[in-house]
């Protein structure tokens, strides 16, 4: 049964988490089990990706309950892409964590929570049932709460309280929207709702519900007025956790947004204008937020906000080419953002600081690592052959053909600010002379054992190769995104796949 395969990566992470429970205090055993679990899950993610591409859409009706009644799991091209990205990033961050995190955090059940978080993400990407999506969201946020708050320093508390409050609020709004949607359509299956919602006469109520979904997912994906929790909480966590948060957690909100607004609700004029305005403001405020910051992690947090704007802009344009552009951008962004946070972690190991004014002359001491970092930095900006360039140019082209010049200007402005900030970061961290004399005690990286260094650097190299592949093999990724965009634009494919496989 190929369709049962959809659940395989989820179950592997779940079983790994359970096995880890038996080794609660044994740090080394936890590390080994986690790496093995991540590797198996990665292989299964690749397999699922391949199966989905050959079969177009995989559908699993759990317990053989026919479509509108049971819980559906579905893997179409977009889901498969997200699963693949989760597999890559979780493998990289899993290996990185074995060396980057200190023992006390691992004793507090870091790996256990980490695997549950990844399980939740995979579930959210694969489910075809709106209430099930809510449950997976909760699995993810309760795990992220734990990862964020373990440690209990004062700085963490401030970020964590904002994060927890905003996420509980977002869940409540999301649940409210599900309740109303169930009230007007009488169904929870996404494909079934999509059919039934067309017959609803009260169009105003449908629009209101869609905006409730927009606000709920908007808080999670950090769009313009709702993003303030992100810069105040993401920089307090260790880099490994920030990598998984920055890379995947906000993208889960975007994924849900794309899913809901392409299949259930078809945006009208008002909604698309709202999307575009929000996207412009998100890019603008995110870009401005980076300018006066000295803390690298905080700059990266604002860059996440800024780049979420690109994705929302693509949803707002609502054409097939725009969808292609944002799916391409999503692929690029998940890989590169996780990598950036991991690089920050290595910088902290080397210099004990994330403050740009206190860093410097890394290029002299660590030339190879600096070159690697430069490649990643430039990928994020999108210097032509590297990965960020192609989706940006697509998005620019599409906003030009749509005649949306304000959006075009903001996209260019946001790109320039990103370029400026990244170049400044590069100069401050790697190039300039270190402001104070360097002592041996500051460097925690050199005294590390070889295996520890390998576990830190290998994931960064791996993700850099992936982003190089995205840049140089842009044609393949473009075709893939085009296929996903085609499926999003023609929602009959999704609906038929769910409703007709009643075997």
């Amino acid at each position: 049964m190929t369709t049962n395969f959809i659940l395989a990566p989820i179950i592997v992470h779940f079983i790994t988490a359970i096995i880890l429970l038996c080794f609660w205090k044994k740090v080394l055993a936890q590390k080994i089990i986690s790496v093995i679990g991540n590797s198996i899950a990665f292989i299964l993610c690749v397999k699922l990706f391949e199966l989905t591409l050959t079969n177009d859409v995989l559908v699993l009706q759990t317990g053989n309950w026919k479509a509108p009644f049971g819980i559906t799991f579905i893997s179409d091209t977009l889901s498969a892409i997200m699963v693949m990205l989760t597999g890559i990033v979780s493998l990289a961050v899993g290996i990185y964590s074995t060396s980057a995190l200190n023992v006390s955090r691992i004793r507090f059940g870091y790996f256990f929570t980490f695997h549950l978080l990844i399980m939740g993400l995979l579930g959210a990407f694969l489910t075809g049932d709106i209430f099930n999506l809510y449950v997976w969201f909760e699995v993810v946020i309760i795990s992220s709460f734990i990862l964020m708050t373990v440690g209990g320093k004062k700085m963490q508390m401030e970020g964590a309280i904002k994060y927890v409050t905003m996420n509980i609020l977002a869940s409540s709004i999301f649940l409210t929207a599900i309740g109303i949607l169930y009230g007007i359509t009488g169904s929870l299956n996404i494909a079934d709702i999509a059919i039934k919602i067309q017959e609803v006469e009260n169009k105003g109520l449908v629009t209101v519900t869609s905006l409730l979904f927009f606000v709920g997912f908007g808080i999670k994906s950090a769009i313009f007025p709702l993003y303030f929790w992100l810069p105040s909480s993401y920089h307090t966590t260790p880099s490994a956790i920030a990598a998984i948060f920055g890379g995947l957690l906000t993208k889960m909100g975007v994924y849900a947004l794309i899913r809901v607004f392409t299949i259930i609700f078809i945006p009208d004029n008002f909604t698309t204008i709202l999307f575009i305005v929000i996207a412009i403001l998100t890019m603008f405020t995110g870009a401005l937020g980076t300018l006066n910051k000295k803390n690298i992690r905080r700059i990266l947090s604002y860059l996440i906000v800024c780049h979420i704007g690109y994705l929302i802009a693509g949803v707002g344009l609502y054409t097939e080419l725009a969808f292609t552009a944002i799916i391409f951008y999503l692929i690029h962004d998940v890989i590169v953002k996780s990598n950036m946070f991991m690089i920050t972690g290595v910088i902290v190991k080397i210099r004990e600081s994330v403050d740009m004014t206190r860093l410097g002359s890394l290029l002299k001491d660590y030339p190879k690592f600096s070159m690697l970092a430069a490649l990643v930095f430039l990928s994020l900006v999108g210097i032509p052959p590297l990965s960020g360039f192609w989706p940006k140019i697509l998005l620019l082209k599409e906003s030009f053909t749509q005649g949306n010049y304000i959006l075009l200007l903001t996209l260019i402005l946001a790109s320039f600010v990103t370029l400026f900030v990244i170049i400044r970061m590069w100069i401050e961290i790697f190039w300039k002379e270190s402001p104070k004399p360097l002592t041996e005690e500051m460097d925690h990286f050199t005294p590390m054992p070889k295996s520890g260094k390998f576990a830190l650097i290998a994931p960064i190299v791996f993700l850099t190769f992936v982003s190089l592949f995205i840049g140089f093999g842009a044609n393949n990724i473009f075709k893939l995104s085009e296929k996903a965009a085609y499926e999003l634009k023609h929602k009959e494919i999704y609906i038929d796949a769910v409703m007709k496989t009643n075997t």
Partner: protein, 117 residues
Amino acid sequence: MELLLVILVGVLYSAGIYMMLRRSMVKLLIGIILLGNGVNILIFLMSGITKGKAPIIPEDQIGFLEAYADPIPQALILTAIVISFALTAFALVLLKKAYTLTGTDDLDSLNIQDLDI
């Protein structure tokens, strides 16, 4: 009955949001609880209230001869209650920890953002 519940949901939502906007940690927690309960009652209300009917079809009956209570919202609330219970418990522990760190009930005392410019 439905009208009463609708008003109750409105009151719970507005009171919850109002309490969440306070500076006090305890009031924030009360806000979270009120909002969670408001959401649960809203889901319960969504399929309409049927008085005196069990959410199952009796054995000797074929098809939906008369209206029966919709079982799905009840199943949904069961899940939602468990989840909101867990989240509230977590928020309670977190706020307790924040209280022991700062020694006050005031959320503003946690603000250290201004230092970083």
